[in-house]
């Protein structure tokens, strides 16, 4: 019989101790095994590295047409860099040593449990333990409310910080994507936030985007309310794999 692999799996007939050489056919047994081994070789490709040379977690990959090798797979998606727990009634939170040349783009996920009022949540870039407080931040965006059709347009060109959202008494969720903060280029960002504002029987949703006017390399950021304080929650920074 002809083999079926790699189209489908084969089901060979094994000879038993009482069989003669012609049933099952001895030559056909060899022929099938030879064909099957050749089909497996074609599937695996050439390449001398044995499984014993691979390390834990490595997989067999094609390094060139017809050649396979053991290699470590690229991890997809997000890599957790740092989680900072937001303290009780603090007026700003610095997050240092999160940007490096390991990633180009970062996701900053912010959950704030409560706050003293409803106002603007802001961000400054940071390096060597200091915020950039200069007028280097351009942004535009808007804030929308669940109770009315109007929106508030917000922008600065430039200002001394980026607006990344709105924070409120009953909880805030904000996500910021920051592109190339560590590179010496014009860092830009995109941010979305939503707050539960049951004090005023509404929810507020915002989006903002902007860029810097300088090409400084930054390693951290500061998140702060523009008035009052925020209370509890977390700031988590992820690197987005290239």
């Amino acid at each position: 019989m002809a083999i079926s692999f790699p189209t489908s799996l084969d089901n060979f007939t094994n000879p038993s101790s009482g069989n003669t050489l012609d049933s099952p056919s001895h030559s056909l047994q060899h022929s099938d095994v030879n064909d099957a081994v050749e089909a497996i070789e074609a599937k695996l490709g050439v390449g001398a590295s044995p499984a014993g040379s691979a390390t834990a977690g490595q997989v067999l990959t094609i390094s060139a047409a017809g050649t396979s090798t053991w290699s470590t797979p690229n991890a997809d998606g997000l890599t957790l860099i740092k989680t900072t727990t937001i303290g009780t009634t603090v007026s700003s939170v610095n997050v240092d040593d999160v940007f490096s040349d390991s990633y180009l783009t970062y996701l900053v996920s912010i959950t704030i449990n409560g706050a003293s009022t409803v106002s603007a949540l802001r961000c400054r870039m940071r390096v060597s333990g200091s915020d950039n407080t200069s007028s280097n931040y351009r942004y535009t965006g808007e804030e929308r409310y669940s109770g009315v059709d109007t929106e508030a347009v917000q922008r600065e060109n430039p200002g001394t910080s980026w607006r990344v959202g709105t924070y409120g008494q009953e909880g805030t969720f904000c996500e910021i994507r920051i592109d190339r903060p560590f590179a010496t280029t014009y860092t830009r960002y995109r941010a979305f936030s939503t707050i539960a504002d049951e004090t005023n029987s509404r929810t507020i949703s915002t989006y903002h985007g902007g860029s810097l006017t300088v090409t400084t390399s930054y390693t951290g950021l500061t998140i702060f309310p523009d008035v009052g304080s925020i209370n509890g929650g977390s700031i988590t920074v992820y690197g987005i794999r290239r």
Partner: protein, 73 residues
């Protein structure tokens, strides 16, 4: 004015008092002033646009026609 506020440097909570507190509050006041200035500018423009639309409508134009003429539709 509060006698102190708290800021957070990574996992460390720091109390700001005196000159440090004043510098912090001055910075926040500047941010607020900048944002207020932009908002005032936006409101002033919105008021002028509304006035222009009203005047054009008084001349017999529809609101849509007025907005097209002043370039906002």
């Amino acid at each position: 004015m509060s006698e102190s506020i708290f800021i957070q440097n990574n996992d460390e909570i720091i109390e700001l008092k005196g000159k440090d507190l004043q510098a912090f509050l001055d910075d926040r006041a500047e941010i607020k002033a900048q944002a207020d200035a932009v908002e005032a500018q936006r409101l002033e423009r919105a008021t002028k646009l509304a006035s222009a639309i009203t005047k054009l409508k008084a001349l017999g134009l529809t609101e849509t026609e007025a907005k097209i003429i002043i370039g906002i539709e």
